[in-house]
């Protein structure tokens, strides 16, 4: 990417990550196998895609709590159409459109009615979840066409297709945020909304875009998940709500708005994935897993915040 300088600091960080991997590899049986690492990325890809959009939402000081419901609902719509024999791309398009529409509705509520994003996305998500249950009387559907399942589970050149899709989303969103004017406006809006308005930029458009994009990404995540599982379970979105937000925050997206890098949200998603993976591989009792997850989340963010407070200038490389 243009303008990327590899400073000594970044090299140190990369070295630490590599070292971490080797230490984990020696202590945790099965961690360093190609299969496991690919699994981690594939499992994290769902969180990562939602985190892409969630980053933008948090940057403009909003939040999207509709992940659970929208994910399940869009996947259900998509799945039902697939079973009716619709062509895969068309079914996916409808699913994505539904998600985008729900996202735009969130944007509408936030923009036109001034309803806090917290509550509107929460309730819209709930309605979506309810619709997912309603569409098929609470039952799951599955046995999708082979090509569709390949998208979720197949590999091309040794890497799962899901990962390609995830990287595509991350790269596109990153470029959007760092290289386009829209990206600048989004950051600006998170920093100081009044200034943005004074400059004549439509905050309404930004709101609509960000929430609509969020709906789009959540729908994609749901579709991808149903490909991985070859199933749409009406409540399958449940674990992803908090994971998406945690991924962003761990990745350094500030809850105060105005800053955050999309590819760091990806790192956050991977950290969550690695953490879960390691806990599973070590066979740690599920009761204790909860405690570790909680501690890690708090510790990581606490460190992040203290680091930011000490360094006034944040290196733009990382």
């Amino acid at each position: 990417m243009k303008g990327l300088k590899i400073s000594k600091k970044s090299l140190l960080i990369i070295a630490s990550v590599v070292a971490l991997f080797f230490i984990l590899g020696s202590l945790v049986p099965g961690f360093l196998s190609m299969r496991n690492l690919m699994n981690i990325i594939r499992q994290s890809s769902i969180i990562a895609i939602t985190a892409c959009a969630m980053t933008l939402v948090i940057i403009i000081k909003g939040i999207d709590l509709s992940v659970t419901g929208v994910l399940s609902f869009c996947a259900m719509v998509n799945g039902l159409l697939l079973l009716k024999g619709w062509p895969i791309l068309l079914a996916m398009l409808v699913g994505l459109a539904v998600g985008t529409a729900m996202g735009l509705f969130n944007g509408l509520m936030v923009e036109k009615l001034g309803i806090p994003a917290f509550i509107t996305t929460l309730v819209v998500g709930n309605v979506g979840g309810g619709l997912a249950l309603l569409l098929n009387a609470g039952k799951s559907i599955g046995a999708f066409p082979a090509a569709y399942v390949f998208m979720g589970n197949g590999t091309i050149l040794g890497m799962p297709v899901s990962n390609y899709i995830m990287f595509f989303f991350v790269i596109v969103t990153s470029l959007l945020m760092s290289k386009t004017r829209l990206g600048t406006y989004i950051y600006a809006m998170g920093g100081n909304e009044t200034v943005v308005k004074q400059q004549g930029i439509s905050t309404a458009a930004i709101n609509y875009f960000v929430y609509g994009f969020s709906g789009f990404c959540i729908a994609m995540a749901g579709i991808l998940l149903s490909g991985q599982l070859d199933t749409v379970h009406p409540t399958q979105g449940e674990p992803y709500q908090l994971d998406a937000i945690a991924a962003c925050v761990i990745g350094g997206v500030s809850m105060l708005g105005g800053e955050g890098k999309v590819y760091l949200a990806l790192v956050g998603a991977l950290i969550i994935g690695v953490q879960r993976n390691v806990l599973n591989l070590l066979g740690i009792h599920p009761f204790y897993q909860n405690i570790f997850v909680g501690i890690i989340i708090i510790v990581i963010v606490a460190i992040n915040i203290h680091q930011k407070r000490r360094t006034i200038e944040i290196s733009k490389i990382f």
Binding site: F118, I119, L122, V249, I291, I305, R309
Partner: protein, 321 residues
């Protein structure tokens, strides 16, 4: 004659503006009385009040936290921890009831202290602190209980919540007393004023001499304390102490109640009456859904849509009036 008319409509406007949730509640109650069979009955009203009494306590707690611009996502899990704690103390360990209750309340205070300290001193956003602490609390609750419930609690313990004094259930009475205390605290005391000031502008509040650090921590402690009370009462109500009582769903239901009641997520705004009626609205909805025997798959979407309408009304009204 024109003057009194204008004054009257102004007063109506003011009432609606300040008490949106009361208005919504009345509209819902009216519609339900007309269209939902079995709704309009004293028995049913009493049932709804009993169902709302306990969530109201937790809702008042979270209202305070919301007013500081914070949030407590560990609420539902704290409920579960306190539930199994009091159950284990009372039945399994066999401590005297008063001691069990005191210890459980202390657990609640401790949780609040930790949450508040992390938010105020370490400066981690409340969302993350309480998200993390929620997981930790859930884990602890499971470990402490080995995943099991404690049921068939001693009658003397249950008596605290299920006795009828002058025709009113003790749980409802306790809830009422807490509402009154909170009302005084929030609307007629320096604490309440300091809280609103802090919520609106923390820096300004501090500069005007309010000890905002202590205030912030205190608010989380009060919230968790109230949640502990709610947990004890709920455990008595269902006659079963469970580590999974409450949970994430409960947290969001209580927060929704507070927000329908007009509490703002940005801090500074919140009323006792608003939150109480916010919870009542949710319980009336759930009551109607059950009375109408709405299909179990439809109810979630249905409830969501009604709540959405309530929130839209609340916001439109705030702008127009």
């Amino acid at each position: 004659m024109g003057n009194t008319q204008v004054l009257f409509s102004q007063r109506i406007r003011k009432f609606v503006k300040n008490n949106g949730s009361v208005v919504i509640f009345l509209i819902l109650a009216l519609l339900a009385s007309l269209f939902v069979k079995n709704f309009f009955a004293l028995n049913n009203f009493l049932t709804i009040i009993k169902q709302a009494a306990i969530p109201v306590i937790a809702c008042l707690g979270i209202t305070l936290v919301l007013m500081t611009g914070g949030i407590d996502l560990s609420l539902g899990y704290t409920l579960g921890l306190c539930s199994i704690t009091v159950g284990l103390f009372v039945k399994t360990v066999g401590l005297p009831i008063w001691l069990s209750i005191v210890l459980t309340l202390l657990v609640g205070l401790l949780v609040g202290l930790i949450n508040g300290t992390l938010v105020q001193v370490v400066k981690v956003p409340a969302f993350i602190v309480t998200l993390g602490s929620g997981y930790i609390i859930f884990g602890i609750a499971q470990i402490v209980s080995s995943g099991s419930d404690v049921n068939r609690l001693p009658a003397s313990f249950r008596a605290i919540g299920v006795t009828n004094i002058l025709g009113l259930n003790t749980t409802v009475l306790i809830s009422l007393v807490i509402c009154l205390i909170m009302y005084y605290l929030l609307h007629h005391s320096t604490f309440g004023r300091a809280l609103a000031a802090f919520g609106f502008n923390a820096k300004a509040a501090r500069m005007s001499g309010i000890r905002s650090e202590a205030l912030n921590i205190l608010v989380y402690m009060i919230c968790s304390f109230l949640v502990a009370i709610a947990a004890i009462l709920l455990t008595i109500r269902v006659n079963c102490a469970q580590p999974t009582m409450g949970g994430g769903v409960y947290t969001f239901e209580v927060i929704t109640g507070a927000i329908i009641g007009g509490a703002s997520l940005f801090g500074g705004i919140g009323t006792v009456i608003g939150s109480v009626f916010g919870v009542l609205i949710i319980k009336v909805l759930e009551n109607c859904i059950n009375l109408l025997n709405v299909s179990y798959y439809t109810y979630q979407a249905f409830q969501g849509i009604v709540i959405l309408l309530a929130i839209i009304f609340e916001n439109v009204k705030n702008r127009k009036l």
